[in-house]
Symmetry: C2
Subunit: 904 residues, 2 copies
């Protein structure tokens, strides 16, 4: 134990306390004194106060900074005395002396404001070195080269940050020296060369400042302290504070801390360790260390670190090499530190330590980064251990990271040859033969082959190919392009917008990164990273642990938002239910029209000249639609099902290429020219803004009437078969005016009345609308009069509000993110300021007009944690997302409740 | 003069006055008593009170209606007495008696609420007829057929509206009779046949009601009165009131008025006259009349009406036939009435009159409909005559009608064969040879031929063809499609969205209405009506009178809004200045890139691989852009000029068809496949929502830098040449976030700094933005920080807010208007509830952030009177519209001030 902390002397007025000491198992400050000691100082005090062996030091408070600027850059008169006393204490604790040629104490000087702030002076290391002390350091460590390397680094750092000398001057000098000595790396320079470099550096300082480099350690110290306080007012820091609303009178603290060295002999070491395994989450220490080394040695890769524990050493056939075996006492001390730290911080810690002459110093501890799997296991384990409660366990796991657990991933040990990169649109990794058309995908898949569908972009016409393929790769389109959305819905890996990809449909090949890949060749795509690789890269399957179910259960107890899924196929619906979906929030009926047997009737309907012709074709679709709904209702077993009536422009159902055109004309028995004309009539300049959504339902009322009938009949059939009764929620898309909804709803009500007459039993159902146009959000009050529910279609709402097409934005979104225009992809995370204001408005106006209005969201944002938090703030009733995002949404919804409670 | 109006008798408590009499040169009511007498009753009272010879009658007040519903559908006890007294007065005035078989008085009974309301009982005519009085009527008029025709009409009308008998029953009976008599028209039936019809009608009444038709005139009267009051509560009227917020306790009045007949001999007549010429506006009576006839005779076209004045008779070679000559005393009386009416109503009147046995009755007077030319002349004349003031003259002319005066119009006397109809997209009528490509249009135009360009739709690539053509016809696109907007900008007639048109580019022909029209055949289009006609229809040129300039001058004195124009060509700019434009509110720079010599450099720029290549191509465009701006600045002579930087997606500048593609590739010296690939890279699913506007300026900063330089250099050049100094307003399109504007503005400022260094003189300029995305409107506060002005691009703002493409909406806008979803085309008249709220928000937030923010509108709405009124309400600084709309905007802006003053 060290001597007492210096106190004010009795014969004076009590001094104001400007300096807070730490180290030697105690500290004058603590974590809560952030405003006074800055973030770094408060943390050091906390660690020291906890009894951790941090290198001793002291913090000069932010009040000194305030005094400094209030008094024309002068210090309080008693500051020097307090600094000197604190320095004495450090000397005593380490048995060294600041400026002593034999046993020199070296220190670091760092700035530390209450909030971290770029632009300010960061760090000066090895302060206290001069021509005399450098020799002492060399003797203490027995390493002259190290001593002079430290010295030349110190001069450069001090010259740059304290004296304001251009660091290029030093770097050029170093390069010259290396060249003249024929050295490639800094480490190739020997002690003598470095000694010369020190001389050269000192000349640079003299030339630049007109004064010699300060040899007096005290002058060095006060120079560095002054530089820290001075940097508080540099323009970059002032601007940063202005932009971030940080008050200028907050000030910065200065931290002065002893340097410790792990390279002073065989009883020295340096290392990094985790309190638990950051890869698997297993409760076992994990780390590596090096004897007689500095941290840089690990980084420079000159020496290979050794395992931390005996178990690790044995596992990689290196028994006897571990720290546990080689330095058992220090290891035991570290274990005590680990236990202390986990108890204190209640989380897995990542610790840097140095052993100087058998004495352990903990340099830093922080919450350790970990894999998704580890995060899950650690959170659940810690809750079971009683270290944290369940709510905290929920908060500990990043919902987005769960994605990694639900999809197969590339074997991290396998080699890979990356030929292109795109957007990580739908996670999971797969390999397969390259195909360029949906039909070819289907053909090969039926023959039992695994394929990856490669398209410039996909359209609804490719759905059967996407179903057949194991993964999808597109050259164009963003995170929410057709390919991405459909792939996520299907839970299939997808890389999209791979701009380097040049696809040639005619030649049936693509080129990327100088490589030409023909149809049939195998590639691997990783939808979690966006990588496209040549050949087959081995993958590993996901292991859903019991911890996963446990954490989900805890989340369900906490969350308020219901979680539904966007699903229309039985497979999707089953997957979603397995993942815990509580209903369907968006069943897109158009996907049901693309199957072989229906597309023909659909095309007949589109080509019909009048309402009668359309009705005839629709009558053929009705039983199939009904069957779809029956199956869906049965899978959902009484959970709510929201069905969106037909939404996309009709031309999406017509054939695209000439061959198919002729085939369709022949099978429909019409002139191919008629078909071509109809196609050209339906073609639109901007289909997103065209004849779609409820506009179809108004222009061709027969379509929605058929759909309503299919829904009612299906619900009835399910009940008659003894299934759980279902109250279908019929959702009208693309409503812009209250009148549209009123019109469409009145027709659906009419179908219901007809059915009631036919069967003697009135169907139960709700009619509501998507809010996906800015106008609908603005007019939500009038629209709510006719709507039992709103579902925010935030994909389209984002497109319209920002005037930004999901399919086309990929081209420049990256430029936009780089330019700081979008912090996030607005199609992934809801744009709160723009789109969010419309949603907020619509919620308020809708609820005012109709207090019992049910509110949900069914855009891609329904599966995005940040957007789910926004939904919780707005008090929506549910979110709906693709099946594989359901667990993410459940966890995010729980976290949103916790966040709301925290923020009052 | 008639006897006194009946008063309450002295021996009773004073009765409440339930009945107000009118006629005989006096009236108990007046126009201001609308709430009590209803609209119709108040107007009749006003006319009678003015001394006009209206047929006498009386009004039963709305208070009776209230009493009726408050007392279980019973009348006030003294009502009958007051009605009887009022009826006595009418009898005395006309020397007839209600129910008298010899000299029967017949009356009409009409409802009349304070606001007009569909669903309520309208009119019963000829009430008082029965088997006895019909004979009296026949004798009085000497026309038995007329008497029985009146009688059978009365029974049908009474049966339908009072007794609630299905009118088909009567109509079927009439048809049967006509068939059995071999008659084609009702008028072919003789008196005897009509007498039988009366019998048959009475049987229908008996069978339907179980009671005979009421022969007692008093029973008829009270039946009709009861029907009027009863109709106040029919569901349709109740619904209408609910939808229009009309209070249900307002009630309706009942008007009972004597019937007068113009067919009782040669001293009888009927006619219609205007106090001024409704076609030219000339101050001369204008009308026609028929001796011994009823109004129906004119309508039925059996007899040809005669001219009203001697001048008219002489003009059409029919001297001696006029009313002025044939009935000079009545004519003189009418002239006195005309003078009275114009003085009273201070507007040109359209008057219906009947002369019964030499006695003049004015049946109705209303403000007369007139042509645009007449409206202008009458307004200016009346102001000069002192009848109205200038402000009223301004209010009298419909701004939209001015369009007719500015463009040639079809000779109204010419024959026309209409083969198709489209939207009246840009007014004016022209004939020309049909061509189907822009190149062909140019070729033929250069050969001195007049052509009409027919396209399915147009794109910027067609601009040169549109310039060359006299008019444009498209099969697709709405009032604000590319074709429509460009045509209006050019002041060229355009019909667009002619859905019946089937265009075949390959065969170079179109078919419409069964007619096939090949290239080179002549058609005529009328952009004011949307008609497409075969062959050449003669047109008449516009005559811009001095009245036009006078009225415009008066409007300019009143209006607050400045009026700018959307113009980029010298021709447009000159036209606009001639029409009074006070600046350019939108100069679209992309139109400048389509000219032959520039498109090549533009394409080179697009095809360049890097920034250097783009800069090289842009350097070639720079001097041309500068020249454009110099010319524009000189024409505008110091008026403000707002220049929008490049906006459309780049692929619009690339060739479309294969032949052109190869040509471009050859001339650019690149592989056609490279060109094709680049084209496919640039292609977008929804170009409206793609890489355009400031997104271009951010991804390819070189473009805007070149444009900024061209603007600055042009302004400098104009000043150096001694021209008026100009402060260009540089407008950034499609801004969604404040950061975009900040970025682009900083680059423009940088170019300005460079120029200041080069020339020693800093350019003066403003940077502002279009507000055309919903997000921009919502974030206007943040955006205004970087913007000196906002210009509302309401075309795009409407597209985004409604999710509706201008180009594609044409297909269903008509269905939408029919279904009552849109009252107006939202691209013509600003959607106040939706888009308008965003504009209002943006104005408030923008001004709050920057009080001196300049605000304008440059969408098509800037030339629409209703939208201009909205701009005035919001306090915008200016509107900007196409050159031919400038006068409309000037007038509308003045009217908007008047409307605002009126509404306080």
């Amino acid at each position: 134990m060290a001597g007492p902390v210096p106190q004010a002397r009795g014969d004076r007025e009590p001094m104001k306390k400007w300096v807070y000491a730490f180290g030697g198992g105690t500290a004058e400050g603590r974590a809560a004194m952030r405003d006074l000691l800055g973030g770094k100082g408060a943390n050091l005090a906390e660690m020291a106060g906890l009894g951790l062996p941090v290198p001793p030091g002291f913090t000069i408070t932010t009040e000194v900074c305030a005094h400094f600027y209030a008094h024309d850059r002068r210090y309080p008169p008693d500051l020097e005395e307090q600094v000197t006393a604190a320095m004495r204490r450090v000397e005593e604790l380490l048995d060294l002396r600041f400026g002593d040629p034999e046993r020199p104490l070296l220190v670091s000087v760092r700035s530390g404001a209450p909030v971290s702030m770029p632009g300010m002076m960061d760090t000066v290391l090895n302060l206290g070195l001069n021509d005399a002390t450098v020799e002492g350091l060399a003797r203490m460590g027995g390493d002259r080269r190290f001593a002079f390397d430290s010295y030349r680094r110190f001069i450069q750092m001090y010259g740059d940050v304290v004296l304001g000398i251009d660091h290029y001057l030093f770097e050029d000098q170093l390069e010259d020296l290396k060249q003249s000595r024929g050295c490639r790396f800094d480490t190739d320079l020997d002690a003598e060369a470095l000694e010369r470099l020190v001389e050269a550096y000192k000349r640079i300082v003299r030339e630049a400042t007109g004064a010699p480099f300060p040899e007096d350690p005290n002058a060095q110290l006060w120079g560095a302290i002054g530089a820290v306080f001075g940097s508080w007012m540099v323009p970059r820091a002032v601007t940063y504070r202005r932009l971030h609303d940080i008050p200028g009178d907050m000030g910065t603290a200065v931290n002065v801390q002893a340097m410790v060295f792990g390279n002073m002999g065989e009883d020295c070491a340096t290392g990094v360790a985790f309190t638990r395994n950051p890869s698997t989450g297993e409760k076992a220490y994990y780390g590596e260390y090096l004897i007689n080394a500095q941290g840089e040695d690990v980084v420079a890769g000159i020496r290979t670190p050794q395992p931390f524990t005996r178990a690790m050493a044995e596992a990689n056939g290196n028994a006897g090499s571990s720290m546990e075996e080689r330095m058992p006492e220090t290891f035991a001390e570290l274990v005590r530190v680990f236990e202390l730290l986990e108890r204190h911080y209640r989380d897995m810690q990542d610790i840097e330590f140095t052993v100087q002459r058998g004495r352990l110093f903990v340099l830093q501890t922080r919450t350790g980064k970990r894999t998704a799997q580890a995060a899950l296991k650690i959170a659940v384990d810690m809750a079971r251990e009683g270290l944290i409660d369940r709510r905290e366990a929920i908060a500990r796991v990043d919902p987005a990271s769960l994605d990694q657990l639900l999809h197969p991933s590339l074997d991290p040990t396998a080699e890979r040859r990356v030929i292109a990169r795109g957007l990580p649109a739908s996670p999971g990794a797969v390999s397969g033969e390259v195909v360029f058309t949906a039909d070819e995908a289907e053909r090969r898949a039926q023959a039992g082959r695994e394929v990856v569908l490669v398209r410039i972009e996909t359209s609804p016409d490719d759905i059967h190919g996407m179903h057949a393929a194991r993964g999808i790769l597109t050259a164009r389109g963003g995170m929410t392009s057709h390919a991405a959305v459909v792939a996520r819905g299907m839970g299939k890996p997808c890389v999209c917008g791979a701009a380097d990809l040049s696809v040639d449909y005619t030649e049936r090949c693509f080129t990327a990164g100088g490589t030409r890949v023909a149809e049939g060749e195998v590639i691997t795509i990783d939808g979690g990273t966006g990588q496209v690789m040549l050949g087959r890269v081995p993958t590993v399957d996901p292991q859903l642990s019991g911890d996963f179910a446990t954490l989900m259960g805890w989340a369900d107890e906490v969350r308020r938002l219901r979680v539904r899924t966007n699903a229309e196929t039985p497979t999707d619906a089953r997957t979603a239910v397995r993942f815990g979906a509580e209903g369907i929030g968006l069943c897109r009926t158009e996907h049901m029209f693309f199957q072989e047997d229906r597309i023909l009737a659909m095309r007949e309907m589109i080509l019909a000249n009048d309402s009668a012709g359309r009705r005839q074709a629709l009558a053929r679709i009705l039983p199939m639609q009904r069957r779809d709904f029956v199956e869906l209702f049965e899978i959902m077993a009484g959970r709510p099902v929201t069905i969106r009536l037909l939404d996309p422009p009709l031309h999406e159902f017509l054939p695209f290429d000439e061959a198919e055109l002729e085939e369709v004309a022949a099978s429909a028995g019409i002139d191919v020219r008629v078909l071509r004309r109809r196609l050209s009539e339906l073609r639109e300049a901007n289909p997103m803004l065209g004849l779609r959504g409820c506009r179809l339902g108004i222009v061709y009322p027969e379509i929605y009437e058929m759909q309503a009938r299919a829904i009612f009949e299906a619900a009835r059939e399910v009940e008659e078969r003894g299934g759980d009764p279902v109250v279908p929620e019929i959702m009208i898309p693309l409503v812009a005016t209250a009148r549209e909804l009123e019109l469409v709803k009145s027709r659906i009500d009419e179908v219901a009345r007809e059915l009631a007459e036919e069967t003697g039993q009135a169907p139960h159902y709700l009619v509501g609308t998507m809010i996906e146009l800015p106008r609908a959000a603005l007019r939500a009050g009038a629209i709510a009069v006719h709507a039992a529910f709103f579902s925010f279609g935030t994909n389209d709402l984002t497109q319209m509000t920002l005037g930004l097409s999901r399919d086309d934005a990929g081209k420049f979104l990256e430029s936009y993110r780089k330019a700081g225009i979008f912090e996030q992809d607005p199609f992934q995370t809801l744009d709160r300021e723009g789109v969010g204001e419309l949603v907020r408005l619509a919620v308020a106006r809708g609820r005012e007009a109709r207090p019992d209005l049910k509110l949900g969201i069914c855009g891609e944002h329904g599966g995005d944690p940040a957007s789910i938090a926004f939904c919780e703030e707005l008090g929506l009733d549910y979110v709906s997302c693709s099946p594989y995002r359901v667990p993410i949404a459940r966890l995010a919804a729980a976290q949103a409740v916790l966040a709301r409670e925290r923020n009052g």
